[in-house]
Amino acid sequence: MEYQFSLEIIYLIASVTYILGLKMLGNPESARRGNLIAAGGMAIAILGTIFLYKGEIPTLIYSLIGIAILLGTVVGWLIAKKVAMTKMPELVSLFNGMGGASAALIGLIEFHHYNGETLSIITILAGIIIGSISFSGSMIAWAKLNGTINKPFRFPKYNLINNLIFIALILFTAYIAWSGSSSQLYLYILFFGALAYGVLFVLPIGGADMPVVISLLNSFTGLAAALGGFLYGNMVMLTGGILVGSAGTILTFAMCNAMNRSLVNVIFGGFGDTDLTAEEGSSTIKGSIKKASVSDVAILMNYSQRVIIVPGYGLAVAQAQHAIHELEQLLEKKGIEVKYAIHPVAGRMPGHMNVLLAETSVEYEKLAEMEDVNPEFANTDVVLVVGANDVVNPAAHNDPASPIYGMPILDVENAKQIIINKRSMKPGYAGIENELFFNQKTSMLFGDAKAIIQSLISELKGM
């Protein structure tokens, strides 16, 4: 395909904005500008493609493209603006799936234009497979984070079946490519086969690992876009796609590291054998829990000097981020030192909790990362754990049989008093018991995070 010189220059500029944008996204100071720069690069690349295209284009096609872009812009904008901050991970997954589907559809249309050119056909088929897996996988990840599908779902021998399907997809691709077949039937069998594989691939993976899966599928979509670029000799698709493919892969590993898991373990291991460990866990943990009332906790906090708050996903679900900020300000006014201890995977995605607390304008300095805050627990009077569970589970340190053994955690057990706010005794996302709840120093404060914190605030105000 021939391109005009001016369009090539635009593509070059756009490619540079993607690199620059991603680089700037890695620094809190420049992140927002980085995103806007990449968006600007994308805008000129898209407009350039439409208006600098060589050749006569019927008005019908121009109008259709215009309508599709307009519709996508309005709907995308509205969804992105309306959805609550707690739902961000789902949203990223949803948009990722859209990109994957787009890549797969391109392949479906282009297939018979390249009949007989083996390598182009392989590129197209690979784009269809990767795009489809990314689409159906992202939709399952979206449903899981959304709570629509709330349990890992495993067929017997699911690993074996999944691997067989994957091998079958590759062999079938090879067959179509080298037989030079132009059969539409084969093409659609491959398409639906890849869609099914995406579903089966994500279904057995536990909800806690969804961020890793989304990150992985994100790099898949990048790869699918790059394959499109290879096919058309389109540089901006190639650079953008490969950049995301490689950056996404590194990000996936970084997330696995934060949870002390290997990628292989995430994909093939499932998360422990959830039912089994839950049963074993409850039998090994002895002792009883201690309940506290709101006024007990208020008194305790009122007479302490250092308080650390450990926010978890429960806080986000209860929409209690504003209430917790108010509590923090109230305590500070009473001369009590308050900090937030943020576990790298608190919430549903690395950095998710920071985003939520930033929304309520909590000061940046108050958000302490795990490594910095862990030595401080020993001289902390009260730790308030709100809706977090697995990230404070000491089993990660001292129970080699636990599925989370080895995961870095917040060492809240070193604090003088531990208050845990939860709705019930239900285990956390990993589905395992937490011996911290049975600790002598621990008091349980049951109830909805928002309601509990609000009554804590009014008790404290009266003191």
């Binding site: 690199i19 927002r32 990449a38 096609i61 259709l64 996508g72 709907v75 948009f95 876009a225 096919l231």
Partner: protein, 102 residues
């Protein structure tokens, strides 16, 4: 085998780009604080929306009477645009909050 060698020599430039871009991607992400992982993933997510350009090219190259290609292309452009716009707007929304803290 000769086909593969031909392919490599014909596309040498693109192969260079692929290899160099892989390294750029790795370098760029290298030392990002965990705090920014979510916005970064969301930003990268928006960038692969560049696939929409492929969808536009498909439509520009279609015959006006090929209903199937046009409808699939229409959906592809629509979904690709959703990816681009949604991705960038969501990332901006997340980062807007980081800024307020100063």
């Amino acid at each position: 085998m000769t086909e593969l060698l031909d392919f490599i020599s014909n596309n040498l430039q693109m192969i260079y780009i692929v290899i160099l871009m892989i390294f750029v991607g790795v370098e760029v992400i290298g030392h990002v604080p965990a705090v920014l992982h979510t916005p970064l993933m969301s930003g990268a997510n928006a960038i692969h929306g560049v696939v929409v350009i492929g969808a536009i090219l498909v439509m520009l190259g279609s015959e006006p009477d090929n209903i199937l290609a046009l409808s699939l292309g229409f959906v592809a452009v629509l979904l690709g645009t959703l990816n681009v716009i949604g991705g960038f707007v969501v990332t901006d929304r997340m980062l807007e909050m980081f800024k307020k803290k100063k």
